[in-house]
């Protein structure tokens, strides 16, 4: 799979990111102690406020009241395996090979994404380190605003990658 796909216009650019280790972590009725222990294992606090991401040794995305996505940019799968063996873990599985990641950057990134999702992406509402699991262009997606990125990152099932490449390619045209 080419990981260099991109579409660029004057004020917005979309590129596909190289896939990295991603895991779904689900805990069984976690207590504060469980959360603290898992946080120490993976080197990152688990966000308990909905629609938030937390950065540490790995990136953790809230996707449900007892469910998180652990994303390691360069970190090995060891942290994910460590979390999986914890007593509080109901589920911790690697899902990275089944996902594709896009980044939309530039001043009109929110404008571009608004064509496909009704979530309010205004920077005053969808602030840095927020995320949302939602529908994007009729397919399931996780949209988030990682700290330090001038735009948004989107995670999809890899099976819809080609559709999204065409969708983004078409969507950027109007931005010159």
């Amino acid at each position: 799979m080419a990981d260099t796909w991109q579409a660029a216009a004057a004020t917005v650019a979309v590129r596909e990111c190289a896939p990295g280790p991603i895991a779904t972590l689900r805990l069984r009725r976690p207590s504060a102690d469980d959360l603290a222990r898992i946080a120490a294992l993976i080197g990152t606090a688990l966000p308990t406020v909905p629609n938030r991401i937390a950065d540490g040794a790995v990136r953790v995305v809230w996707i449900g009241p007892d469910e998180w996505l652990i994303i390691g940019d360069t970190a090995p799968n060891a942290t994910i395996e460590a979390a999986a063996t914890d007593a509080a873990a109901a589920l911790c599985v690697s899902v990275g090979d089944g996902r594709c990641i896009f980044e939309a950057t530039g001043p009109d990134a929110a404008e571009l994404l608004a064509k496909a999702t009704s979530i309010d992406l205004h920077p005053a509402v969808f602030t840095e380190a927020m995320s949302a699991m939602t529908l994007f262009a009729q397919v399931n997606a996780i949209v988030d605003r990682p700290p330090g990125l001038d735009g948004f990152r989107l995670i999809f099932d890899v099976s819809v990658r080609d559709y999204l490449c065409r969708w983004f390619g078409d969507a950027v045209v109007e931005f010159g």
Partner: protein
């Protein structure tokens, strides 16, 4: 399209949700003591009110959790949203859109 406020994720479009029908339906039991007529009523007989209705909804495209919605079936006005474990809220006449 309705905009439904998921108790976890916040306001989202109706297409992200699935409606699970009437809420607060109590399953009869123990099963070996329940006769066919009672099972039939439990499975098939649901109320169909014009006005306030307590329903279960699933946020299928978001947090994938079930929750309850108090919705006016005539106006689609959503009067309350609450978690599965919570009791039905008291809904007064104030704010009724009919």
């Amino acid at each position: 399209m309705l905009q439904i406020s998921c108790p976890w994720c916040g306001p989202r479009d109706e297409i992200e949700f699935r409606c699970g029908g009437q809420s607060h339906v109590i399953r009869p039991g123990p099963p070996e003591e329940v006769d066919d007529a009672t099972w039939g009523r439990y499975l098939s007989e649901k109320i169909n009110p014009r006005g306030d209705h307590l329903e279960r909804w699933l946020h299928a495209a978001g947090c994938r959790r079930w929750f309850n919605v108090a919705r006016d079936t005539a106006t689609h006005r959503i009067r309350a949203v609450y978690h599965m474990v919570e009791a039905a809220p008291a809904i007064g006449d104030e704010g009724s859109a009919r």
